[in-house]
Symmetry: C2
Subunit: 229 residues, 2 copies
């Protein structure tokens, strides 16, 4: 213990589970590996932490570099450090959990030379390393968190209909919700701003649009409010 730097050191990486959502499905962003090990396999975006940057910064930097993405929500998920998780040797990874509005990132999921793509979370290819575990942990977190914190909105476009919102919750929680009860509950939280607009280009009656009121949310949150669904 007396000579700190004599210790051999595990390598340190960050890996990000980025969720997005479209009409059909909850999606996760994957990158095709261009290097050994697991060359050609799909993996979570991530990479080595630099000496002068914080862990959060490393996660943001990797997302920007590998996929041109700036997530609207980013939080640390869990640190995975089993000795055998990387065939090259000891690599510890700090996993992150991110949400993006897919509408902002649909086009150039791939920047760089790398290949990036969105996959349905229920139907991913085999992943490199222990990334399937990481994805599983992230899904659990999303499911748990969505029930008592209104983070789901980070997955929707700024203006959305109540039906879209309900579908989002149904996809994440993997169970159907009652339309009237859902609307009652959500509207009673008073976190939605009702707009004087309706959705466009639909071949049936158009639904009213709403916007999430971030400012009000922050106020109520500070006041120790409860947002259980």
């Amino acid at each position: 213990m007396s000579h700190t730097y004599e210790y051999p050191r595990p390598a340190l990486t960050v890996d990000c589970v980025v969720f997005g959502m479209d009409e059909e499905d909850l999606k996760v962003l994957l990158i095709k590996r261009g290097l050994e090990p697991f060359l050609g396999k799909w993996a979570l975006p991530g990479g080595f932490v630099r000496m002068e940057e914080s862990l959060d910064d490393a996660a943001r930097r990797e997302l920007e570099e590998e996929a041109g993405i700036r997530p609207s929500h980013l939080e640390q998920l869990f640190t995975f450090g089993e000795p055998g998780r990387d065939p090259r040797g000891r690599v510890v990874t700090v996993a992150y959990f991110a949400l993006v509005k897919l509408s902002d990132h649909r086009v150039h999921a791939s920047t760089d030379a790398r290949e990036a793509a969105w996959f349905s979370v229920w139907d991913t290819p085999k992943l490199a390393f222990d990334h399937a575990d990481i994805l599983g942990t992230a899904l659990q977190r999303l499911k748990g968190k969505v029930r008592y914190q209104p983070i789901g909105f980070e997955l929707l476009p700024p203006k959305f209909t109540l039906t879209q919102l309900q579908r989002l919750y149904e996809m994440i929680l993997e169970r159907p919700l009652d339309k009237r009860n859902f609307r009652k509950k959500i509207l009673s939280m008073e976190l939605l701003e009702e707009l004087d607009e309706v959705e466009q280009d639909v071949s049936h009656r158009a639904a009213r649009l709403y916007r999430f009121d971030h400012k009000k949310y922050r106020q109520l949150e500070k006041a120790g409010f409860n947002f259980e669904l």
Copy 2:
């Protein structure tokens, strides 16, 4: 990216927030540092992760070495990696959250040559590094978790009275609870085994003892049960 091991590596440690509880207070275990930096200051128990051990193992080993403690509950808390958090250079620490039955560990809080002691969590000395932040995060976790998972039992002796249990919840949540409502709620979960014993050596009517039924808990947990307080 192509030569993994060229990257400089942050040093990697684990630090543990160990909670215990006695009649008066919720306690946290601290160790007096015998080395620079922060020599003589109080700090969380912890140390460097070895190349061949998992993070969990590292946390357990450090607790055993520094305080002779085997926690009854141990889980990863959060990873702290701000570049400036250690004056010696870049050190990333994976923080752990542990619960022990103080009755088992009251005597030799200190093994080794080190000085270890239990402090009231509401009245700790100034801590080394960013350990005050880590302790704060752990307290939040304890408060949050206790509301929907029966982990509080890990802080009590195997046999306890309902009053002890209520005091535990009151200390953690920092608010008074109604005796009748509390008992109603706890007993309705059917996780407590009512024993044919009462507490000893009290100078008033003795209370009935209960035991937490771990087996039943695991069953109900698997069945997707809800243990909200």
